[in-house]
């Protein structure tokens, strides 16, 4: 697993209070990890802080799985 993936996973586990094993690349934040829309706002904020990227609202709306987040961050990181 890439460095980005590890750090994303850590943030998801911490914020959503889920088991690390359930944070697979395909896992949907809402359907599989019990997040609601505000949790996603919080996760996006945490990703922005951790990786120094800006994730605009329209892009954030398309991030629905763990892998979506990793892909976006890898593509936009400075």
């Amino acid at each position: 697993m890439s460095d980005t993936a590890d750090r994303v996973k850590k943030i998801v586990v911490e914020h959503l209070g889920v088991e690390a094993g359930s944070v697979t690349p395909e896992a949907s934040f809402i359907d599989d990890l019990g997040a609601d829309s505000l949790d996603i706002v919080e996760l996006v904020m945490a990703f922005e802080e951790e990786f120094g990227v800006e994730i605009p609202d329209d892009a954030a709306e398309k991030i629905t799985t763990v892998n979506d987040a990793i892909t976006y961050i890898d593509a936009h990181q400075g």
Partner: protein
């Protein structure tokens, strides 16, 4: 009128995070005070408080027992304490498995004096340092006072009255009184009722310090700082925690064979209409609150065995309450014991009235009244009143009165008796 009884209790306090531990320590005359650990309070008016202890402490609080990790992250401590105390009360009452029909008739009335002060403080600092896009999306609903009730109702599926009192240090008593009326008026059969506070944070200590309300003179011996009725008292010691009772309509409780701790028989409430922080100089509001509760209870003055006083250890308030008690009870004052458990756990503000009502109920159960710690030199005004100095006292306890008074000139009194 439908009768209202208490069938469950829940406590999170600086002396224990369950009912039996907290009560054992109260009766053993322990103090929950110490140097503040949540932040460095060296340069503050007061650097001591009665904090809820961490999970690894002998009588600490483990939030993981009843509060989801995700919720813990999103909300202020007062909500976490409140959810846990409410869960304890519901479990104690044996009502965690109610049908949907029953849950339609089960509600909550759990308030707080000032709510999510630590989170308001910390997120304000985030706003100032990093701007609006870094403020938590959970900021608002993680700080709102009615979100103990909100969280508890979601967790346990309760769909009856969803209520939260905000009357400063009278919150806990008003919460129980209001909830008892909701049951009496047939709005619900079961109500979780109480109060919570978790405001030991820099802005909280600074604010109460600037209001000249806090004890400041006992930095080296914080356990001596809360000393209601003593000549050397110099203000209250901030506490934190929660108390929640499960109230239930009497026939409902009897039908399911519930254990009944006490009956709520009197509720009085009044306003001082005098000053935002200072109590009325003749204790007029306190007097009328107690008088109303006694009148509603149908008891004689001589029937009250124990008063859990508001007694915050402030120079002015303690004397005025004592005067009001003296004026109402007259010669009957010789029959009763009156103590302030704030001497042991500090002032839980919005949680105080509920936690102290639970101590009253336990006094009824165990026929013992808790002590007033540090009462070394009672004020001149105390003569002829049994203020239970230093050690708990075994005695007959058939009926009890609890007083709570708050900023804004708000007063509440509850009368309860054994069944």
């Amino acid at each position: 009128m439908r009768r209202v009884v208490v069938t469950g209790l829940g406590l999170v306090t600086p002396l224990g995070a369950d009912v039996e531990t907290a009560w054992k320590n109260i009766i053993a005359a322990k103090s929950g005070a110490g140097t503040i650990t949540k932040f460095d309070a060296t340069d503050f008016h007061s650097n001591y408080a009665c904090e809820v202890k961490p999970a690894d402490h002998e009588y600490g609080f483990d939030p993981d027992k009843r509060v989801d990790h995700k919720v813990q992250r999103q909300v202020d401590p007062f909500i976490v304490y409140g959810i846990d105390a409410a869960g304890q009360a519901l479990e104690d009452a044996g009502l965690t498995e109610m049908s949907e029909e029953e849950r339609f008739r089960a509600g909550c009335s759990i308030g707080s004096g000032i709510g999510g002060l630590p989170g308001i403080e910390s997120e304000s600092l985030v706003l100032a340092a990093k701007g609006p896009k870094r403020v938590s999306p959970h900021f608002v609903h993680g700080r709102l006072i009615n979100l103990i009730t909100g969280q508890v109702q979601i967790k346990y599926g309760l769909m009856g009255p969803n209520h939260a009192v905000v009357t400063a240090c009278s919150t806990g008593a008003h919460s129980i009184g209001d909830a008892a009326r909701m049951i009496a008026m047939d709005d619900a059969d079961v109500m979780l009722a109480g109060g919570s506070e978790g405001a030991i944070c820099p802005i909280g200590i600074a604010g109460f310090g600037q209001a000249r309300a806090l004890s400041t003179g006992f930095r080296d011996e914080p356990w001596r700082a809360s000393r209601p009725y003593d000549k050397d008292r110099d203000g209250f010691v901030m506490g934190e925690g929660a108390g929640v009772v499960c109230l239930e309509e009497y026939e409902h409780a009897k039908k399911r064979g519930a254990k009944i701790y006490a009956e709520v028989i009197g509720y009085g409430l009044s306003g001082d209409a005098y000053h935002v922080t200072a109590p009325h100089p003749e204790g007029s509001g306190a007097f009328r609150s107690m008088e109303m509760a006694m009148r509603k209870s149908g008891l004689e003055l001589g029937d009250i065995d124990y008063i859990n006083a508001h007694g915050t250890s402030t120079p002015l308030g303690d004397e005025l309450e004592l005067n009001a008690v003296r004026r109402l009870f007259g010669n009957s004052i010789a029959n009763l014991s009156m103590s302030s458990t704030k001497s042991a756990i500090g002032h839980l503000l919005g949680g105080a009235g509920a936690v102290e009502s639970i101590f009253c109920i336990l006094a009824l159960r165990d026929q013992i009244v808790p002590p007033t710690l540090n009462l070394d030199n009672p004020s001149d005004n105390c003569a002829g009143v049994d203020l239970v100095p230093h050690v708990a006292k075994e005695r007959q306890v058939k009926a009890v009165l609890n007083n709570s008074f708050g900023f804004g000139g708000t007063n509440a009194s509850l009368v309860m008796k054994a069944i």
